[in-house]
Each structure stands twice: as structure tokens, then as C-alpha cells.
Amino acid sequence: MSAPLASRLHRPTLTIGIALFAISLITWHDASTMQIRASYGMGADAASYFVAAFLAVLGAGHILAAFRWASEPGQSDWQAVGWVSLGLISLIGALWFQIGFIPGSTLLFAFTARAFGRRALIVDLILGFVLATGIFLLFNKLLTLALPMGPLERLL
């Protein structure tokens, strides 16, 4: 992820700088296409132009900073990040395909526990299922919040 210190350019900082410029351009373009104009004073586009300019200045600042020495972030365990991501994607998928809240949350729980170093996947799946079902019953029935339903939830 991060460039070796030997190379003069600090790559993450440079990337953030470029990203800021990109957002700035999008914002500027969006502001320039606005139709509604204020009769006097400032219109809705003024704030957009201001933020676009502000982000551009920050982007320039980052690109300048990329030439100077910057502290390296510590080592990251990408496998752990991957497991949490997989859990979150499972929940999104479960809602997208209308499988329901409980199965999605069960997977999220088990995969996150895995990311934090647990190895007993079956136990965590069961625990996650119990927790998700408990949350579903508590919030859907008791607090009448509408959690997404799948085939399983309709049975409850």
C-alpha cells in the first residue's frame, strides 16, 4: 500500500491529493450546471464553488506534502480487514436479494469474530444467529422498527 521510504514521493498522500482534486472538479462542474439563481445575494451554487476551491487548495497542499517526509502508517493485517469486509458485503447481499436481516447479520457476526482472531466459526455462527434473532424480535416487534424481512423473518 505505502511506497518505500527510499522513493521521494509519499504515495498515499499524493493519491489523497489527486482524489481531492477530482472531487473538487466534480463539485465545480456540478455547480456550473445549476439552473436556479438567487435574485440577490448568494445562490445555491456559491457554497459549491467555495467547497470546490477549498478542496482544490487542500489537494495542492497534499501534493506538496507528498514531497516531504511523512510518517508511515503501521502494518495492517489486510486479511482481518478482508474478513470484516466480507461480513459487511454478506449483509448487503442478504438485503439486496431479500434473504432477510437475520441470515445477513449472522454472517456479519461470524466473519467479524473471525477477523478478530476467533477460529470457532460454527459456534460464532450459532451465537450470531441467536443475537440477530433476538435483535430482530426486540426491535421489530417491541420498538416497531421495520427491519428488512426475508422468508425466515416472515415465519417469526
Binding site: 481531492l20 459549491s48 436481516f101
Partner: protein, 499 residues
């Protein structure tokens, strides 16, 4: 005397059984999260936002304030017994507190922290009740230009004091301001940056952003760093009560800590860290036995603990009277007000006096509850340190996602939450502060509309901002605060972490 009468009415509200229950839940939750390392009050309030929006506003806000106070108490327990501060405001407490625990004086350390927190919060909450109405009287006369100046100060100080460099702080703020643009403009109906996505027309939900950045971002970061080492808390040996000498050495640091913490907490972006560090250095200089510092001096626990609790009450002054959040938790609490369509500020005191004064009164009650929870029951909280962290974080993630989709049942909202989670993770990884993003999203649109209102009244003449002495002063202060860190590198040291 006005505030006394209001406060009496407030106690009437706060003593309502429902509200007492909310306060109790708040302080218990707050103490729990304060005890658990890495989980701060900002995260907890953010997690609770989506599931409380159907509850009674008064009760929920009382609960949030209880969490805030409880977090400040609970953090000291972890700092003393584990040397891992539960939140950044108790980093200093760990210095002397953990040394005391290692020398078998964990009990008195916990006691001076709890009683000091109690004394400080009591005085500081009284200060809040006294100063808030005065500030409200000034603030009612504020025009849009004054509010705009005030928000500029908030922007600059929040981004300058959080994080490791002004560039990073301002970048976080910029992201927040940018997110604030998204959606339909309130004054003209113009859509900004919605790219044809219907979910974006209403703008970015503050709760989704806060939960994503604080809860998901934190969980991803902790997972990536393996920050979940098992450390055994030091067992409390001997009496938990303080000796006569402990009392003698503690009471002055308590009062001094309060005197430092309350006003600094009330300053924009003063937060809780600066007063705790100031209090620590002060006690070290004033101590009769300075050689004990570093080896478990009780003054080094008493002062900073009082300071961090006093600053929590101090933070509520600008939050309630001006709608200005000066800490991460305050920013999330502001989002809590907004989900009930309540805008903290002088008008809140006029329109919802029962709610505001009920909140203030319940802080006194929460404080008494916290003293009971933290002194005789401290052993109970230590057991929370034994929950396996994998399950804890897994539970937090399930709860965070559940809250967001319950408030806003759509997959797009969940995807935004996850997206913000990764942004929060990357910001932590590259050392960008989180709080300015939330502050930018909340205050950005407000600053925009205040400025436009001001310009409408002046028929488009921007000089109106400089013609009013109030706004001119505030804009000058904001400009100074923006430029100063670049001119004097030494000031950059005066930074703080987020809670």
C-alpha cells in the same frame, strides 16, 4: 435566580420515572463503554441514534448525556487497572493511576477518580445551569452574520486542534463540508451533487455518517492493527477507601481540575484532553512531594479526572446555548438533537425549556447514580473487561448496521454506511481526525444558509459581515486561528485526540 426556578422545574421533569430510567440506562451504558478500551462515548451515542429516534426526545437526550458523563467516569477504571485508557480523556489518568494500582493502591486511585469526577461534575453542571442562561441572553440577539462568524470559529478550531496537522484537520473538515452540500438546498430547492440518486436528495444522514465513521471505521481499524491484545486487569488489593492523607491530598486537585476543565471544555474545540494535560502538569508543579510523580502520586489522578468530567459539562454550554459542538461526542449529540428536529441554540431554551432544564437537572441525578455505580460497584465493571473482544466488535457491527437500516430501510443507505466505514478506517490509518467530518456535515449547511440570509438582508453586500462588531471579531478570531498553526509550528504540539 431565573435559572434556579427553571432548574427546579427541570428536576420535576428529570424525576419522572421514565426519565429516571433513561438516565440510569445512560449512565450504566456510559460506564460500560467507558470501561471497555477503544469504545468511546461518541461511538456509543452514534450507535444509539438510529434506534432512539422513535422514543421520546427528552428521555433519549437524558440518556445520551448520561452516556457522556458515564464514559468520563468509566474511562478512569480502565486507565487505572489496565493501563489502557478507555478513552483519550483518561490517558493522563493512566500515568499515575496505573502506578498506584501496581503498588497496591488501586482502591484509593479509583476512589479519588470517582469522587473527584463527582465533585467536578457537580460544580461544572451548576456552572452550566448558571452560565447557559447568560449566554442565551447574548445569543438571542445574534444575527445571521454572528452565527456565520461563530461557525467559522468552530470550523477552524475543530480542524486545527484535532489530528496531527492542520492540513489533515482541514481536509477532514473539507470532506464534511462536501458531504453537507449533497441534496436539495433548503432555500432555493436546487439539488446539489445528487447525481440522480433519489436517496441522496435528502442529503447525507448525520447518523449514517457518524455510525459509519465511528463504529465501522473503528472496528476495521482495530481488526487491522490487532489492537485487541489480552491484558489482565490488576486486581484491587486492600481497602478501596481513601485515607485521611489521601483526602487531604485530593481535594485541592479536584477543585483545580474543575477550574481548568470547565472553561476549556466550553471553548470551541477545547475538548477534554488539553485540560487533563494542563491539570496534570499543574499538580506536578504544585505537589508537596513532586518526587512521587511517576510512581503513583494521588494528585496526578485526582486533578485530571476532575478536569475531564468538568470539561464534559463545559462542552454542553456551547452545545446547548449556541448549537456548537466542541468535541466528537458533542457533535454526535448534536445529531441526536437534530433527529428530533430540535436545533440547539438560544431558541431551544425559549421553545423547549422543559426539555433543556430537564436535561440539566438529570445531569445532577446521573452524577449521583454514577458515584454509586463507580465506587461500591467498581468490581462489577472490571468484569466487563473479560468479554471476548471478537464477540464485542462483532456485536457492535451487527448493532450498527441494524440501527441504520431500521431508521432508513434501504440497501443504498447500508452501502453508504459501509462506504463511510471504509473512509473512517482509511482516515484512522493515515491519521486524519474524524470529528471535523461530522462537524462539517452538520454545521456546513447551517453556515451556508446563515451567510445567505445575512447577504439577503444586506442586498448582497458582503461588507455586512464586517460592519457588525460581533461577526467582525469572530471572523478575525477564526482567521487568526487558521493562520497561527502555520506560522508557529510550536502550536501544532497543542493537539488532542478524539474521544
Amino acid at each position: 435566580m431565573d435559572s434556579l426556578i427553571h432548574l427546579m422545574h427541570g428536576f420535576g421533569t428529570a424525576l419522572d420515572p421514565m426519565n429516571l430510567a433513561f438516565a440510569a440506562i445512560g449512565v450504566i451504558l456510559g460506564t460500560t463503554v467507558g470501561v471497555l478500551p477503544g469504545i468511546g462515548p461518541a461511538l456509543t451515542v452514534a450507535l444509539l441514534l438510529p434506534i432512539t429516534f422513535k422514543l421520546d426526545p427528552g428521555g433519549s437526550l437524558i440518556m445520551f448525556a448520561g452516556i457522556y458523563y458515564g464514559g468520563m467516569y468509566g474511562g478512569s477504571t480502565t486507565a487505572i487497572l489496565l493501563n489502557t485508557p478507555g478513552e483519550s480523556a483518561s490517558v493522563v489518568t493512566a500515568l499515575e493511576g496505573n502506578q498506584m494500582a501496581r503498588r497496591g493502591r488501586g482502591g484509593p486511585a479509583l476512589a479519588t477518580a470517582a469522587i473527584g469526577s463527582f465533585v467536578a461534575a457537580l460544580i461544572a453542571t451548576a456552572g452550566l445551569a448558571f452560565f447557559a442562561p447568560i449566554l442565551v441572553k447574548v445569543a438571542v440577539k445574534f444575527g445571521p452574520w454572528d452565527y456565520f462568524g461563530l461557525m467559522l470559529i468552530a470550523f477552524v478550531t475543530v480542524s486545527a486542534t484535532f489530528g496531527s496537522s492542520p492540513l489533515r484537520g482541514l481536509t477532514s473538515l473539507g470532506i464534511g463540508l462536501w458531504l453537507g452540500l449533497i441534496g436539495i438546498d433548503q432555500l432555493t430547492g436546487q439539488t446539489r451533487l445528487s447525481f440522480g440518486v433519489p436517496n441522496l436528495l435528502d442529503g447525507v444522514e448525520v447518523t449514517t455518517l457518524a455510525v459509519g465513521l465511528f463504529a465501522l471505521g473503528e472496528a476495521l481499524f482495530v481488526a487491522s492493527r490487532h489492537l485487541f491484545n489480552d491484558e489482565k486487569p490488576i486486581a484491587i488489593k486492600g481497602s478501596i477507601w481513601m485515607s485521611r492523607e489521601d483526602w487531604k491530598r485530593s481535594w485541592k486537585p479536584w477543585l483545580r481540575g474543575t477550574a481548568v476543565g470547565f472553561p476549556i471544555g466550553a471553548l470551541p474545540a477545547g475538548g477534554a484532553e488539553i485540560p487533563t494535560f494542563l491539570s496534570y502538569t499543574m499538580e506536578r508543579k504544585l505537589a508537596e512531594k513532586p518526587e512521587e510523580f511517576g510512581k503513583g502520586a494521588i494528585e496526578g489522578v485526582a486533578g485530571p479526572e476532575a478536569a475531564n468530567n468538568a470539561s464534559a459539562a463545559g462542552t454542553l454550554v456551547p452545545l446547548l446555548t449556541l448549537g456548537l459542538p466542541t468535541s466528537a461526542t458533542a457533535a454526535v449529540m448534536l445529531a441526536g438533537f437534530q433527529q428530533y428536529n430540535l436545533q440547539p441554540g438560544p431558541l431551544l431554551f425559549v421553545q423547549h425549556p422543559a426539555l433543556v432544564w430537564g436535561l440539566v437537572a438529570s445531569l445532577f441525578i446521573a452524577n449521583v447514580m454514577l458515584l454509586v455505580l463507580n465506587l461500591p460497584l467498581v468490581g462489577l465493571w472490571v468484569r466487563f473487561l473479560k468479554i471476548p473482544l471478537p464477540w464485542l466488535y462483532a456485536g457492535i457491527l451487527v448493532f450498527a448496521c441494524m440501527g441504520t437500516i431500521a431508521a432508513n430501510p434501504s440497501v443504498v443507505e447500508l452501502m453508504m454506511l459501509v462506504g463511510f466505514g471504509f473512509v473512517g478506517f482509511l482516515m484512522r490509518r493515515y491519521d486524519y481526525p474524524i470529528a471535523p467530518v461530522v462537524v462539517g456535515l452538520i454545521l456546513g449547511p447551517l453556515a451556508d444558509s446563515q451567510l445567505r440570509r445575512a447577504l439577503q438582508m444586506s442586498l448582497g453586500d458582503p461588507m455586512i459581515l464586517l460592519q457588525h462588531p460581533g461577526s467582525a471579531t469572530m471572523i478575525a478570531v477564526a482567521t487568526l486561528a487558521l493562520i497561527a498553526p502555520f506560522l508557529f509550528k510550536g502550536l501544532a504540539k497543542f493537539r488532542q485526540d478524539e474521544d
